[in-house]
C-alpha cells in the first residue's frame, strides 16, 4: 500500500499544544471511561426479546420484516421479489447466496452478480436495477439496522442504487445495539487488522424532512427496504 | 429556625407586599425572622451584562450582610441562583472571599424550595379561589434545579384551580437588560407567553420571580388585558377571611 502524503502537520499541531499550554503529547493512555451507559442498554436480554425489539424498531424505520424458516428462504425470496416488482436484480459476489441455496431462485429473474471484470457496467446495472439483494453482517435490534462490512465484491452500490433493497438477515447476526457492532470493529482495529473501507449501518429506506419538516421516504438511496429474517440455526 | 430575609431590590423598590407576605408565611411556620440591613442587590444586572467587577462589589456587600445568617431565604429564583454564582466570581487565588461566597451559596434558598425541602411543609392552610396558571421561571428550574416545590405548595391552596401553562418552560423575555437591549425580541417572547396564558383561560398568573412578573404584568396592562399577575408568596399568605394573619397594607397586583 502506498502511503499517502501528510502536509503542514507539525506547525498545525504545535499551535494546538501551545494553546493548551504544554508540549506536544507524543503518547497517551486513553482512560477507562467513568460513564459507559451504552453497556447497560438491553443487557442480558434473550435473543427472543431482541427479536421482538428488532421487529418493533423496523416498523418505526418504515421497513417490512418477513420472518422465515431457512428451508423456506428460496421460495419466500422469490415471493418477495415478485411483491416488490420483480427484476432487474443486482447482487454482490457473496458466498452466502450459495450457502443458502438461492442462486437458482435468483436466476429465474434478470439478475446481475457483481463482476469485477465488467468494471463500470456493474454500476450501470445497479443503477438500472429494481431490486438489490444483500446479506446483513451484523444486525442491530434497538434501531432496526443492518450493518454491511463491504469489500470490493460485496459492493456498496447494491444497497444504495436500486429502487428497493432486500436484506437477508440471519438471526444469528442479531445483537442489542450499535455498541456490540462497534465493539467488534474496535477489537479488530486494536488487533492491528485493516478494517473494511466502507462499513455501512443502514436503518430502513432513505428519507428527508427538509421540506417544511414533512417526512418524505425515499430520497437518494432506496425507496423501499424489506428484511427477510431467517432462522439460520 | 433562624431565617434571614433576602427580599431582593425589586421587592424593596416595587413590590414590598411580596416581602411582607413572605415574612408572614415564614413566621407562621415558626421561623425566627431577621432582616440583615446591609442587603441591597444580588448584582445580576451587572453580572449578566458582563460587568464582573461592578457585580463583585454587589456580591461582597451581600456576602458581608449575610455572614451571620443560618438560612438565607429569598422570593426570587434568579437571585438565589445569583448567590450560587458568587464563588465562581472570585479568582481561585482569592481564597478568603471564595470561601465566604461558598458559605453564602450553601445556605441560600428560594422561598418555595425552602418551605418544601427544608421545612418539609406543603400545606400552608392558604386559600385562593381562582382559576390560575403558573409560569416557571427559567433560573429557578434550570439554575436552581427546582421544578417541583411551587406546584406542591399550590396543590394545597384551597379553591385554587391550577391549569397547566403550555410551553411553560419557555422564557418570558425578561432576562434583565435583555428586555431593553433586545426589546423587539423580548416583545415577541412576552407576547407568546401571554398568548399561552390566555389559552388556559386562567384569570390569575402566578410566578416566583418578580423580574418575570414585572415583565409579563407590564405587557398585560399595556395591552389592556385582564389577567392578574401575582407572586406565589401572596397566594401562600392568603388566608380565608377571619383567618389568622395577613398583610394589611395595600397590595398591588393581587386580589380578586
Amino acid at each position: 500500500m502506498t502511503r499517502g502524503m501528510i502536509q503542514h502537520r507539525e506547525p498545525f499541531l504545535n499551535t494546538i499544544a501551545e494553546r493548551l499550554g504544554r508540549d506536544r503529547r507524543q503518547s497517551l493512555h486513553k482512560p477507562s471511561w467513568q460513564y459507559q451507559p451504552q453497556l447497560e442498554v438491553y443487557k442480558g436480554h434473550s435473543q427472543e426479546n431482541l427479536l421482538t425489539i428488532f421487529i418493533e424498531a423496523c416498523e418505526s424505520v418504515h421497513t417490512e420484516v418477513r420472518e422465515i424458516v431457512t428451508m423456506d428462504l428460496a421460495r419466500r425470496l422469490n415471493e418477495t421479489i415478485e411483491d416488490y416488482g420483480g427484476g432487474p436484480i443486482v447482487i454482490g459476489k457473496d458466498q452466502r447466496f450459495v450457502d443458502f441455496k438461492l442462486m437458482e431462485t435468483l436466476q429465474a429473474f434478470e439478475v446481475h452478480q457483481w463482476d469485477l471484470q465488467l468494471r463500470q457496467e456493474n454500476i450501470e446495472k445497479a443503477a438500472e436495477a429494481n431490486i438489490g439483494i444483500s446479506f446483513s453482517d451484523i444486525s442491530l435490534a434497538e434501531s432496526g439496522t443492518t450493518v454491511f462490512l463491504h469489500n470490493k465484491e460485496k459492493a456498496r452500490a447494491i444497497s444504495l442504487l436500486p429502487r428497493c433493497s432486500i436484506v437477508i438477515i440471519p438471526k444469528s447476526t442479531l445483537v442489542p445495539r450499535i455498541t456490540q457492532a462497534v465493539q467488534e470493529i474496535d477489537q479488530r482495529v486494536k488487533a492491528g487488522e485493516e478494517i473494511e473501507a466502507y462499513i455501512n449501518m443502514i436503518s430502513g429506506p432513505s428519507n428527508s424532512a427538509d421540506i417544511e419538516m414533512n417526512l418524505v421516504i425515499g430520497v437518494h438511496g432506496p425507496v423501499k427496504v424489506v428484511y427477510l429474517l431467517v432462522n439460520d440455526r | 429556625m433562624k431565617v434571614s430575609l433576602f427580599v431582593t431590590c425589586l421587592s424593596e423598590m416595587f413590590y414590598p407586599h411580596v416581602a411582607k407576605d413572605m415574612t408572614e408565611v415564614l413566621e407562621r411556620l415558626n421561623c425566627e425572622i431577621e432582616f440583615p440591613a446591609g442587603q441591597i442587590c444580588c448584582g445580576q444586572p451587572a453580572f449578566n451584562s458582563g460587568y464582573l467587577q461592578d457585580a463583585k462589589k454587589a456580591a461582597k456587600q451581600m456576602i458581608e450582610a449575610f455572614e451571620a445568617a443560618e438560612y438565607v431565604v429569598t422570593p426570587s429564583g434568579s437571585c438565589a441562583a445569583m448567590f450560587k454564582e458568587y464563588p465562581s466570581m472570585f479568582e481561585e487565588t482569592d481564597i478568603i472571599w471564595r470561601k465566604k461566597a461558598e458559605g453564602l451559596a450553601n445556605k441560600t434558598y428560594e422561598l418555595c424550595q425552602f418551605i418544601v425541602n427544608v421545612l418539609g411543609v406543603e400545606d400552608l392552610g392558604a386559600s385562593f379561589p381562582a382559576k390560575a396558571t403558573y409560569h416557571t421561571s427559567c433560573h429557578m428550574i434550570r439554575l436552581l434545579g427546582e421544578t417541583e416545590a411551587p406546584f406542591k405548595l399550590l396543590s394545597h391552596v384551597k379553591g385554587l384551580e391550577l391549569v397547566p401553562l403550555p410551553n411553560n418552560h419557555d422564557c418570558c423575555g425578561f432576562g434583565g437588560t435583555f428586555s431593553v437591549k433586545m426589546a423587539p425580541i423580548s416583545e415577541q417572547m412576552v407576547d407568546e407567553k401571554i398568548k399561552h396564558v390566555e389559552e388556559t383561560g386562567a384569570h390569575v398568573l402566578i410566578g416566583s420571580d418578580n423580574g418575570c412578573l414585572m415583565n409579563i404584568q407590564g405587557r398585560i396592562t399595556r395591552q389592556g388585558k385582564q389577567v392578574k399577575v401575582v407572586h406565589i408568596a401572596e397566594i401562600l399568605n392568603h388566608q380565608e377571611e377571619g383567618g389568622i394573619l395577613h398583610a394589611n397594607e395595600n397590595r398591588n397586583g393581587a386580589l380578586l
Partner: protein, 480 residues
C-alpha cells in the same frame, strides 16, 4: 459562501426576520416538533435508562479528546495516510481552499458533487471551486434547494432550508431546473432524486464533511438520512473530506456514544438511516469506491478557543438541540444571526471564529434562560459562555456604550452602599412621580423609555419595607 450571512446590521436583520410570517410560523412549528422528538428519544426513552449518564459520557469523551487534540489528530493522520489517503492540515480557510483547488486542478476535473458540510460553507469552498471553473452541485436536499434558489443561506444547522415553504421551493425548481409538477414534498423530492442521480453518476470529485473522524483507524464517519453522502463517497473517483479539527473521537467505542447522542438529539432517531465509516483503500480493482482520498483538517480559528474559558465550545457535535430550544431563535430564525452557525452555539462560536466586530451583538441576543445548557447532549455550559463573551466585550474586546459602562459603575457603587441605596429608595418614587399614573408608568424618562415603549413599568413603592419590618417585629415582641 463563507460563515457570514448578509451585510445588514444586526437590528435590521432582526426586524426583517420578525416580519417574515412564514418563517416565524415555520420556526415555532419546527422547534415544537424537534424538541418533542428529542425528548421522546432521550429523557423519555426508558431503554436508555438514564439520559443524564449519557450526557456525562459525552462530556467526558469530548473533554478528554479536546485536551489531547494534538495527539489524536496526529494519530488520525498516521492511520489515514497508512491506508493511502492524503492529509492536509489547513490553518486557515484560504489554505484549505487552495489545497482543494490544486488537487482538483491536477486532475483537470470539473464536475463536483457535495454532501452537506457546515465547515465547507464556513470556508467558502463552493466559490473557490467555481473560481477555477468547476461545477459544484449540492446534493443534500436542503442545500440543493438553497443552491437552486439563488444561493440562499442556511437558517438551521440540521435543517438548513427550514425558512422556505414548499411553494417557494416549487417555484425555484420551476424557474431554475424546469420542474413542472406540484409543491407536494414527495414530488419535489422525487425530482431532486432524478436530477441528482445523473450528477452522482457523472461526478469526478465527491466532497463530504465529517461528523466524526476515528483516530485509531483513520476512518471518517458520516451520519445522514438521505443517502446522498453515500453516493458522493462511492461513485466519484476522487473523495475529498473536509473536517473541522475538533470533529474527532479516539476510537470506534466513543463513536457509539457520540453517534447515539447526535442522532437522538438532532432528529429524535435512534440512528439516522446511514451511519457510514469510510476508510481509505487504494484497491485498484474495486469499482464502486474512490481511487484517491484526501482529508483536509481545518483550524479556521478554532484553536483560539483552546486554553481559554471557551474551550468547551469545541465539544459541540452539531446536533442543534440548543437551537431547537432557544426562545430567541424561535422568533428571529437562523439568518438573523448573520452567521451559518446560529442559535446559542452560533452566538458562542461565531464571535470566536469571526471576532466581535462582526458578531459582537450575538452574545447579547439572549435572555440567559439556560434552555440551551439544559439541552446540550455534551453539557456545554452555553449560557455561561455567553456571559463570558459579554465580560470580554465590555473589558475591551468590543464597544460597549459609554452610558452603559457608567451606569454599571453607578450600580456597583449603589449596590455596595446601604446609604446610597436608602437615598435611591427615598428619592426615586418622587423623581418618577410626574410619570406615574394609577400606580404605573406608561412613558418613562431616559433609559426607561426602552422599557415603556412596549410595557408599563410599576410605580416605585412609597412603602418602606424595612420600617414595616421593624414595626412588625416590635409589635410581635410587644404581643408576646
Amino acid at each position: 459562501m463563507p460563515m457570514k450571512i448578509g451585510t445588514e446590521p444586526f437590528f435590521e436583520r432582526v426586524d426583517h426576520s420578525l416580519h417574515d410570517d412564514f418563517m416565524r410560523q415555520a420556526m415555532v412549528s419546527a422547534q415544537d416538533s424537534l424538541r418533542n422528538r428529542k425528548l421522546a428519544a432521550t429523557t423519555e426513552d426508558e431503554s436508555l435508562l438514564d439520559w443524564e449518564l449519557w450526557r456525562n459520557a459525552g462530556e467526558e469523551i469530548r473533554r478528554h479528546t479536546l485536551e489531547n487534540l494534538d495527539y489524536y489528530l496526529e494519530q488520525l493522520s498516521e492511520h489515514y495516510a497508512a491506508r493511502g489517503g492524503h492529509v492536509f492540515f489547513a490553518s486557515t480557510a484560504e489554505e484549505a481552499n487552495q489545497y482543494i483547488q490544486e488537487t482538483i486542478q491536477k486532475k483537470q476535473a470539473k464536475r463536483v458533487v457535495k454532501a452537506k458540510s457546515m465547515v465547507t460553507e464556513e470556508i467558502g469552498l463552493n466559490e473557490a471551486l467555481e473560481d477555477i471553473g468547476c461545477h459544484v452541485l449540492e446534493s443534500d436536499l436542503a442545500e440543493y434547494i438553497l443552491q437552486i434558489d439563488d444561493h440562499d443561506r442556511p437558517s438551521h444547522i440540521v435543517v438548513p432550508s427550514l425558512h422556505k415553504n414548499k411553494e417557494q421551493i416549487r417555484d425555484a425548481f420551476k424557474e431554475k431546473r424546469g420542474y413542472s409538477a406540484s409543491e407536494k414534498p414527495e414530488e419535489l423530492a422525487a425530482f431532486a432524486r432524478k436530477d441528482l442521480r445523473e450528477a452522482f453518476l457523472k461526478a469526478e470529485v465527491g466532497i463530504t464533511g465529517c461528523n466524526f473522524a476515528v483516530a485509531d483507524s483513520g476512518t471518517i464517519a458520516l451520519v445522514t438520512n438521505e443517502g446522498n453522502a453515500n453516493m458522493v463517497a462511492t461513485l466519484p473517483d476522487t473523495l475529498i473530506t473536509v473536517m473541522g479539527m475538533e470533529r474527532i473521537v479516539p476510537s470506534w467505542e466513543e463513536l457509539d456514544v457520540l453517534v447515539t447522542l447526535l442522532c437522538r438529539s438532532a432528529v429524535g432517531q435512534k440512528l439516522t438511516t446511514y451511519v457510514t465509516g469510510l476508510t481509505p483503500d487504494l484497491e485498484a480493482d474495486s469499482i464502486d469506491s474512490p481511487k484517491d482520498y484526501h482529508l483536509v483538517i481545518v483550524d479556521g480559528g478554532r484553536s483560539k478557543a483552546l486554553g481559554t474559558e471557551f474551550q468547551s465550545v469545541l465539544h459541540c457535535i452539531r446536533c442543534a438541540a440548543c437551537v431547537n430550544v432557544c426562545p430567541v431563535y424561535r422568533h428571529i430564525g437562523g439568518q438573523a444571526y448573520g452567521s451559518i452557525y446560529q442559535g446559542p452555539i452560533g452566538a458562542v462560536l461565531s464571535p470566536i471564529l469571526g471576532g466581535y466586530e462582526e458578531y459582537g451583538e450575538l452574545p447579547y441576543a439572549s435572555s440567559l434562560c439556560a434552555a440551551c445548557t439544559e439541552a446540550c447532549p455534551v453539557k456545554i455550559p452555553l449560557h455561561e459562555l455567553l456571559i463570558k463573551h459579554r465580560q470580554r466585550y465590555v473589558a475591551g474586546g468590543g464597544h460597549p456604550k459609554v452610558s452603559e459602562k457608567l451606569s454599571m459603575k453607578a450600580f456597583g457603587m449603589g449596590a455596595s452602599s446601604p446609604l446610597l441605596f436608602k437615598m435611591a429608595r427615598e428619592v426615586v418614587p418622587t423623581m418618577l412621580a410626574p410619570f406615574t399614573q394609577d400606580d404605573r408608568i406608561e412613558q418613562g424618562p431616559g433609559p426607561m423609555k426602552l422599557w415603556t415603549k412596549i410595557r408599563d413599568f410599576p410605580a416605585p413603592s412609597r412603602t418602606n419595607f424595612r420600617k414595616w419590618f421593624a414595626d412588625h417585629t416590635q409589635k410581635m415582641g410587644d404581643d408576646l
